[in-house]
Every structure is written in structure tokens, then in C-alpha cells.
């Protein structure tokens, strides 16, 4: 039992999310381990993005969203009354579906986070370090003062990853980071993720099952439960396991149907 020795970064215990009075995700029990890539997969509307966004309290920005159950971060209740969401997001970074660089220079994009946190040290070195870690330094070192919107989509997304790691977080959450990118940019980002997991814990939501199979150590499969009455669509976690097991020999038939392309 190698897993037992692994450090649990997040432990979701009977976790649920409501938007207003409608239940979006119910009874999720999921461990997420340190220095691994965990993929959340499943059909549209299964709540995988909702679960991801509750891991850095991004759902707080939607006034009607309410998280139930427990989300433990290194054993600490992330939704406890003494927890500051701003502090949470300093240690748990996020990369979004569509690249969202700030309309500023490449340099300022990276420097924004460290300046926000008041990080000590030479800013030029911090920027260079983050860009190197995101394998972007050679592409942009001669045009750091240029606007980030002049970059290609793939470069913009790597810039967003560089921006996230510049603040030296503990975890990086990725919400379908490659869905707006071409295959070559996608492979570059996947390479980068494999590199980054040495230093960070990564949770990725993806629609692309091949991507989950390629990069993830563990995979959690979500689906939509429509059995709870007329019109109700509640996301549920079907199972989670090592990626190889999910894709070759899942314990639930719904997972097998999904990963073999029978539905979804």
C-alpha cells in the first residue's frame, strides 16, 4: 500500500455544492495526493469544474454558491470561519480554461502576483525564474516589455501558468487548460505539467480523456445523476483510482462506458 504513505493535500469528505437552492454536486469523497496530477473527468454538467473551483474558494465569487460537507487542506477545514479566502488563493493557484493574461506587459503579468504578496527578492530574478519554469523564457526574454496579448494562445496559457507559479504556491488547479489550444500547444503544456508535478500538486479538469490518460497519476470520474426526480441534474463522483486502473479496468460500468466512448 504505497498510497497510504502519500501525503493527502486535499481530503473531500461528503462534500456538496449548492447554487442557490439547486444542488450542483453531491457527496464527493476524494483524496488528492501531494506531487501528483489528479484529473477530474466526466461529461458536461457533472460538476467537475465546480469541485475544482471549491478547492481555492473561487466559488466564493458567486454569491449564491454554498459548499457543504468538508474540504480539508492538509487537515484544515478550508471553509472554517477563521479561513481567509484571499490567503487560500495565495497557496492554491489556478489556471483557467481560456488564457486570461492581464492587459499588461509580459513582465508585469508575472510580477503582479509576487508584488501582491509582497515577496522579497529581486523581481527580475523572480520573473525570469517563473518564465524558465514554465518553459517560456527563451520565447519571450527579448520582449518582456511587450503586451501579453501579442503572444499566441499557447504562449498566453504558459504565461498564465508562469504567473501562477511565480507566487510559489503549494497547489495548482487547472480548469481545462488546453481546451482553447491547438495540439502542439497542448503537448507543450502537458510536458510542462509533468515537469511541474515534482514541485507542485496539480489538479486538472479535462474534457479530453486522452489527456487525462497521458498526464494524470490518479483520475476521478464524475457523472450526472438524473435519477433524483424530474429535471434534476446532480453531479456525483462515480469512482476514483489510479489512472491506469480507471482506463483499463474500472470498477463501475458507467466509467467503462465513458472511457470507452460509449457515451459522453
Amino acid at each position: 500500500m504505497e498510497q497510504a504513505a502519500k501525503n493527502e493535500v486535499f481530503s473531500l469528505k461528503d462534500m456538496s455544492v449548492h447554487y442557490g437552492s439547486s444542488l450542483a454536486v453531491d457527496s464527493v469523497n476524494l483524496p488528492i495526493y501531494e506531487n501528483e496530477i489528479t484529473a477530474l473527468i466526466g461529461p458536461s454538467g457533472c460538476g467537475k469544474s465546480t469541485v475544482l473551483r471549491s478547492l481555492n474558494r473561487m466559488n466564493d465569487l458567486i454569491p449564491s454558491a454554498k459548499v457543504g460537507g468538508e474540504v480539508l487542506y492538509h487537515g484544515q477545514d478550508m471553509y472554517g470561519s477563521d479561513v481567509d479566502p484571499v490567503q487560500v488563493r495565495k497557496v492554491i493557484g489556478m489556471v483557467f480554461q481560456k488564457p486570461n493574461p492581464f492587459p499588461k506587459s509580459i513582465y508585469d503579468n508575472i510580477a503582479f502576483g509576487p508584488q501582491t504578496l509582497g515577496m522579497k527578492g529581486n523581481m527580475d530574478e523572480i520573473v525570469e525564474g517563473a518564465l524558465k519554469q514554465a518553459a517560456l523564457w527563451d520565447d519571450v526574454k527579448d520582449r518582456l516589455k511587450d503586451n501579453a496579448f501579442g503572444m499566441s494562445g499557447g504562449q498566453q496559457q504558459r504565461l498564465c501558468i508562469a504567473r501562477a507559479i511565480a507566487v510559489k504556491p503549494d497547489v495548482i488547479l487547472m480548469d481545462e487548460p488546453c481546451s482553447a489550444l491547438d495540439p502542439i500547444s497542448t503537448f507543450k503544456i502537458e510536458d510542462l505539467m509533468m515537469e511541474l508535478k515534482k514541485d507542485y500538486t496539480i489538479v486538472i479538469v479535462t474534457h479530453n480523456m486522452q489527456q487525462a490518460a497521458r498526464v494524470a497519476d490518479r483520475t476521478a470520474f464524475f457523472t450526472v445523476d438524473t435519477s433524483r426526480g424530474e429535471g434534476s441534474r446532480v453531479g456525483t463522483l462515480v469512482e476514483h483510482d489510479e489512472t491506469t486502473k480507471i482506463f483499463s479496468n474500472p470498477s463501475d460500468e458507467r466509467t467503462l462506458d465513458y472511457v470507452t466512448g460509449k457515451f459522453g
Binding site: 481555492n56 473561487m58 465569487l61 454569491p63 484571499v86 490567503q87 488563493r89 495565495k90 497557496v91 493557484g93 489556478m94 483557467f96 481560456k98 486570461n100 493574461p101 492581464f102 492587459p103 499588461k104 503582479f112 502576483g113 501582491t116 504578496l117 503586451n147 496579448f149 498564465c160 504567473r163 501562477a164 507566487v167
Partner: protein, 316 residues
């Protein structure tokens, strides 16, 4: 019923690509719509022409240099003098005090509404702001004369309140008038900044204040500057409040919070009554001041357009 009509149509009729009717109604509507837009453009051009047309008559009496640099405005004195600077100074003081009040309060309100207020608070405050925008300024002017000026006078006993009129109070009153305008336009500009940009900043551990000031504000700067320019234009053009609160002013160039002062608009409004005889220097002077007012507003708008295109953070 309709199927029988369909059936009665011959094959050649069915395949025809010609319009079944000349659609005269649509053509009439299009011409009316064109007429509506042409009238507004035409009237604007006519106003500008009528403003500039009497200028040669004025400059027969007074040299442009004397007009633009003279510091004594005394059109009705026996020994008349047409230096426009006292009026320009009055107008600029109004703009200065108005922006001093209107920009921080308007922008503050916009930041609150766009970044902090709950939907319910926003839905209450925004319509109130829009109603305030439409308040007749003569009413605001009366309020300023009878309540606001005495209040300021009481609060600032160290100032020398020798005159019943004050250009400073007039400016502040105009500032209050432009708060809703600046707040409403800036709020719209800030709310049109994509949510994705805010999320990007929040995900880096930025506080609300930092997201508002460092991300949303720079991204919305073009709209925000536009709101300041609109506010300044409104301040330049404001007539009633200045007339009521700052008085007709003195012919000399004077700068000071408690001084009475005439502004360009107030001068025009007090002079351009039906009794004025065309072709007199009095008549011409009104158009000279009006033209200068127009040029000032135009210049300011152009500077603003330049500023906006230079410092805008494009996010699309």
C-alpha cells in the same frame, strides 16, 4: 385555405426570385430614419456656422490678441474692454472645483458599485444616480444659494466671505451635479471588464481592493477618462448654477474660492436676451465668447481621445 392559394400558384410563379411587392412601406421608413439622423447632423453644423459667422464683425472692433490675452472684461463700460481672460478664469475655476469633487466621489462610487456592492444595493443605487443626473440644475442652484453656501460659509470661518457670490461654491455644486454622471459611466466601463481578468487576479491571492485598483481600473481606463471628460464638459457648459451662485462677476481677473466670478456660459446667458440689438459690439461679443467655448470643449475632447488611445489596456 392557404394551401389552396399555394396550389393555385403556377410553377413559374413559385420559382420567381422577384419581390412579391415593391415594399414601399420599408423604403418610406428608411427615408424617415435617414432624415432623422440627417437633421441632427445638419442642425449641429448650422449651430457651429452661426456661432462662427459673426466673428469677423467682432474682430473688426477688437483684435484677436486683445480678446484672448486681455484681463479686463467690460463690454458695457463707456471705455469698453474685451479681454476674455476673466471669463475663462471663471470657467476654469468652476471646472477645477467640479473635478476636485466629482472625480474622487464619482470614481469612488463607481468602484463601490462595480466591485463591492451586492446586486440588491446596486439595483437600488444605480437608478437613483440616473435620476439625479436628470435633475434640473436651476433647482440644484437654488439649493446651493440658500443652503449649501451658508453651510460652507459656516464650516470655513477662516475664509474671507465678503461677497454674496462664490465661484468656489459654484464649482463644488457643479461637482456634485457631475458625480452621478462620472459614477454611472465609470461603473459601466468597469463592469464591462471581463470576469476572467478579475478571476485571474483573485487566483493569485489578490484582495478585492487590489483587483479593483490594479486590474479593473487600468483595463477600464478609457471609459473612466471618458467619464471625466464628460464631467468636465458638463462643468464648462453649466450655466444656471454658475449664474446663481457665482454671480455676474467682476470685470477684473480674479482667482479665489470666495470671489464672485463670471463664467463664459453665465455671461452669454445674462446678455443674450431678446433685447440685444444685432450688429452691436455687445451682440458680437456673445458669439466671440461662444466660439471660444466651443473651441475649448473640442480641444478637451481631442486631448481625451488622444489620452485614451495611448494609455488604454486593450483586453480583446
Amino acid at each position: 385555405m392557404s394551401s389552396s392559394i399555394q396550389g393555385a400558384r403556377s410553377r413559374s410563379e413559385k420559382n420567381s426570385l422577384r419581390a412579391p411587392s415593391p415594399r414601399i412601406g420599408e423604403k418610406i421608413v428608411i427615408s424617415l430614419l435617414f432624415l432623422a439622423s440627417a437633421i441632427s447632423v445638419g442642425v449641429t453644423i448650422a449651430i457651429v456656422i452661426s456661432l462662427f459667422a459673426p466673428l469677423p464683425g467682432f474682430f473688426d472692433y477688437v483684435s484677436p490678441w486683445e480678446f484672448l490675452t486681455g484681463t479686463l472684461w467690460a463690454p458695457s463700460f463707456l471705455d469698453s474692454s474685451f479681454g476674455v481672460l476673466p471669463l475663462v478664469a471663471g470657467t476654469l475655476q468652476v471646472v477645477f472645483y467640479a473635478l476636485l469633487i466629482g472625480v474622487p466621489l464619482g470614481l469612488g462610487a463607481a468602484i463601490y458599485l462595480s466591485e463591492y456592492a451586492s446586486t440588491r444595493v446596486r439595483k437600488t443605487i444605480k437608478p437613483i444616480l440616473e435620476v439625479l443626473e436628470g435633475l434640473p440644475t436651476v433647482a440644484t442652484g437654488l439649493f446651493a444659494v440658500f443652503w449649501f453656501k451658508p453651510l460652507i460659509q459656516e464650516l470655513t470661518p477662516w475664509l474671507e466671505w465678503t461677497s454674496p457670490f462664490s465661484i468656489g461654491v459654484a464649482g463644488i455644486t457643479v461637482g456634485i451635479i457631475i458625480i452621478p454622471l462620472i459614477a454611472s459611466v465609470s461603473d459601466d466601463a468597469m463592469r464591462s471588464v471581463p470576469v476572467a481578468l478579475r478571476e485571474g487576479a483573485y487566483a493569485l491571492g489578490a484582495s478585492k481592493m487590489r483587483v479593483a485598483v490594479k486590474v479593473v481600473l487600468p483595463a477600464a481606463i478609457s471609459g473612466i477618462v471618458a467619464s471625466f471628460v464628460l464631467g468636465a464638459s458638463r462643468a464648462i457648459g453649466e450655466t444656471m448654477v454658475v449664474l446663481l451662485v457665482a454671480g455676474g462677476g467682476s470685470p477684473q481677473l480674479k482667482i479665489g474660492f470666495t470671489e464672485p466670478a463670471g463664467a463664459m456660459t453665465a455671461f452669454i446667458a445674462s446678455r443674450a436676451t431678446g433685447e440685444i440689438a444685432t450688429g452691436t459690439i455687445d451682440y458680437y461679443s456673445i458669439f466671440a465668447v461662444g466660439s471660444l467655448l466651443f473651441v475649448m470643449t473640442l480641444t478637451m475632447n481631442m486631448i481625451a481621445i488622444f489620452f485614451v488611445s495611448k494609455f488604454r489596456e486593450v483586453y480583446d
